[in-house]
Symmetry: C2
Subunit: 462 residues, 2 copies
């Protein structure tokens, strides 16, 4: 079993991470640098980055300097922007240049996004011509596009090569390129004409030319394609990488699946934030300053407050009714609360359906009608419950009828608007996820109180 | 340029899908089967599945039968469960057996989850011994575990093989195994002892034994590990596949990154549904019956209604105050609305932070205190606005003070409970995402009204 001791499974993996974090701190504080080096040898780069992130700021540079050059670059790439920037200011010139020159172009472009222009110019001057060119290329594309997240260091082969020749070629190119699972075949003008997997290269007869084994039906994306669209293509077609081309189908780079998983997580977070009534975060919410938290959260809260003041207008307009039957005021929170809940459910399913393509086959009208019926059924259930409850506990028949009828109308309207508004937002060119639970709740508050007081006027004959 | 005509980029890809869908229907209706066959030749399996899904039910079987055997299996795997089941009942015996026997074991296990036991027994009887064993193995593990989603058809090699021998071995095994980017090295007892990528196999000296090039630090998961945990490992360590082992580190199967992307999307949908106050869906929400929609949505709506009836109790208990100053009733929706919005924001950031590990370095108390301060700052902003507004428009100074003070207290409590409850839920063993916007809104409704009426009593001296 000694052989398998280094095979760590999921459960022990989290404990291992904890041990590395606490041990590294201890060893550095004891100035036991050899011990710290030995500790880190078998640790994956992402876990080393986490351990360095967890160190007190005074020890971070020290911890980082224990790493071998090739590991140091990987660890640096995994560090959060905040620590990348703090380190880059403390590094000696030579250290900076070594690391930045060795970074993969997409990670480097991401770092440059966060640095002051003066520092970027200095760093660019120190890059090798090739790396500088790669970085310039990426920085030329808009944020969140395929061009920005691709790596230009793919391997491209010519179609007349045989499988065995291709293998030899890969061996010579492996040092300066990223070998992904796919190899791309290009013509003399660098146009993408085919794709071949490493597997195909190994299992075919070694003398077969690539032309005969390559797939010509290659799925690709433009440099300007949004990264979310790239993610969806990779997900849909179960790809490990996607080639990125320009309008003439010239191959420019490759986006790999590991980058895409992070994109998908970020997009889900953005949706969730919007649905919770927050602007989507530029940086980690828990890392930004309180000032920025307030800046991020107050627009929605303020907008909703101002909108909700319509309820004050309506209620004060119907003051006479409330004055005569004060019991009516007891039920406003209950009514608008129930409506808000039903509305939040409806908008949630529609927003998620639109963002995952779960709704691609459904007509909007069909969906809205189904929500209308659902709202009606839920409302009838709740209405009966409320009528029975009010008669039993408060003995007010007319009030109970008012509340029951209002509840039915409110849930129907809540479910219908909850389903309609995300479509409307999309139609208007906004993100449907902006139709958040807080927003639908506010809409239902206003409509609900209006319905309630008019039902009261009718039923109570005031 | 004729060479590159089949390279479809992202933008034209969606149009292509549309064309295939509409053309297939037309050709089948015209009984032009040869035309339909030709149409489908260059189309990826997932798009064919989508096109068949979009056909009227009477044409689905017909469309499916146009496919070549190896494509048919892939297309079948991509079809949604509903159509898989409908087709399996219409197939002739021989067709069923061919397809089910050729399916990958993990997809087959998923299908069997949905079929009646009688049909499963019949199908199992017709499987080849090897496929039957693979299926039995997977079905033996719980739903949502690594064991259930892994493929047992990995390639394992012995460490004494040289790179060139390994390549030969892969060539002979490629027919009955899935060749992923990683190859696994096992000892005589099938214990996992190392990993080697296809890239390493190609770029090393062909005569090197695997022992010398394999990585011994292999990250793996247990068969019982939750699929979400598997997804997080693959995401964290940028892997293309993860080996699955038993307690003795015996290699049993492999989970690949393409399966994991779907798991991550499903988990995000589950979180979003819970945060919107819905049970997480077993099947696509838009495919289930209205009865099941109500069954899924009513528990939360009912629970929240019953909880919210506490607001009725409180308001009726303070009837005297409302009777004396009816204007107080105008502001309840505004107050609890603003509180609910702030609370929904706080619970959203904390829930998402807990589910993406964005909060892994933060102490709960630290997070709650920050939300407390945020709530206070937002409350002061809103409070001042409301006090000025009420004095300007309604001229009621004491009421304005009551509303302003209450608003400050309510936003503080909303932000603090919004941040605390997800942690509490997690501590109690529930999913933090259950702390939905509707739930926090309801909690804020009750606390808010209590605070409001007591502030009123104090400020107005009733």
């Amino acid at each position: 079993m000694s052989n398998t001791s280094s095979i760590a499974s999921a459960t022990s993996r989290n404990e291992l991470r904890e041990v590395v974090r606490s041990q590294l701190k201890l060893l550095l504080e004891e100035k036991n640098y050899e011990g710290a080096k030995t500790l880190l040898v078998p640790v994956p780069s992402v876990d080393i980055a986490e351990a360095i992130e967890g160190l007190p700021e005074t020890l971070q540079l020290l911890g980082f300097r224990l790493l071998k050059k090739n590991i140091a670059v990987q660890v640096y790439e995994y560090l959060p922007p905040r620590i990348q920037q703090s380190l880059i200011k403390k590094f000696q010139d030579e250290e900076v240049i070594n690391i930045v020159n060795e970074m993969s172009p997409d990670k480097r472009a991401k770092l440059f996004d966060e640095l002051p222009p003066k520092l970027i110019r200095k760093l660019l001057n120190h890059l090798s011509a090739e790396e500088r060119q790669a970085t310039d290329l990426l920085l030329g594309y808009g944020a969140d596009t395929a061009g920005r997240i691709m790596t230009p260091k793919y391997i491209a082969l010519k179609e007349h090569l045989t499988a065995i020749e291709a293998q030899k070629k890969i061996r010579t190119l492996a040092q300066q390129s990223e070998v992904s699972y796919y190899l791309y075949v290009t013509d003399e003008d660098k146009h993408l004409i085919g794709l071949i997997s490493l597997k195909d290269l190994i299992i075919c007869d070694p003398k077969t030319p690539l032309r005969e084994i390559m797939t010509q039906e290659v799925i690709s994306a433009d440099t300007e394609t949004d990264q979310e669209e790239v993610a969806k293509l990779i997900q849909r077609y179960d790809l490990l990488a996607l080639p990125i081309v320009d309008k003439e189908k010239t191959l420019l780079g490759v986006v790999t699946v590991d980058d895409i998983i992070d994109v998908l997580e970020l997009e889900a977070t953005e949706d969730i934030y919007k649905m919770g009534g927050l602007d989507s975060p530029k940086d980690d919410y828990f890392e930004i300053s309180l000032f920025n938290v307030i800046k991020q959260r107050s627009p929605w809260v303020l907008l909703l407050l101002v909108t909700n003041s319509a309820t004050v207008m309506i209620l004060s307009h119907y003051e006479v009714i409330l004055d005569q039957v004060v019991a009516l005021a007891f039920f406003t929170p209950l009514l608008i609360g129930a409506g808000g809940n039903v509305g939040a459910q409806s908008s949630t399913v529609v927003i998620r359906g639109l963002s995952t393509e779960g709704l691609k086959d459904k007509k909007p009208l069909e969906v809205v009608i189904r929500e209308f019926i659902t709202g009606g059924l839920l409302g009838m259930m709740l209405g009966v419950l409320v009528i029975v409850g009010i008669i039993l506990f408060l003995g007010q028949q007319k009030v109970s009828l008012t509340v029951g009828i209002s509840l039915l109308c409110i849930t129907i309207i809540a479910a219908t608007t909850g389903a309609t508004l995300p479509y409307l937002f999309m139609k208007l060119g906004f993100d449907p996820a902006l139709m958040s639970s807080p927003l639908i709740t506010t809409v239902v508050d206003i409509l609900g109180i209006f319905i309630y007081l008019n039902t009261a006027r009718f039923v109570l004959g005031i």
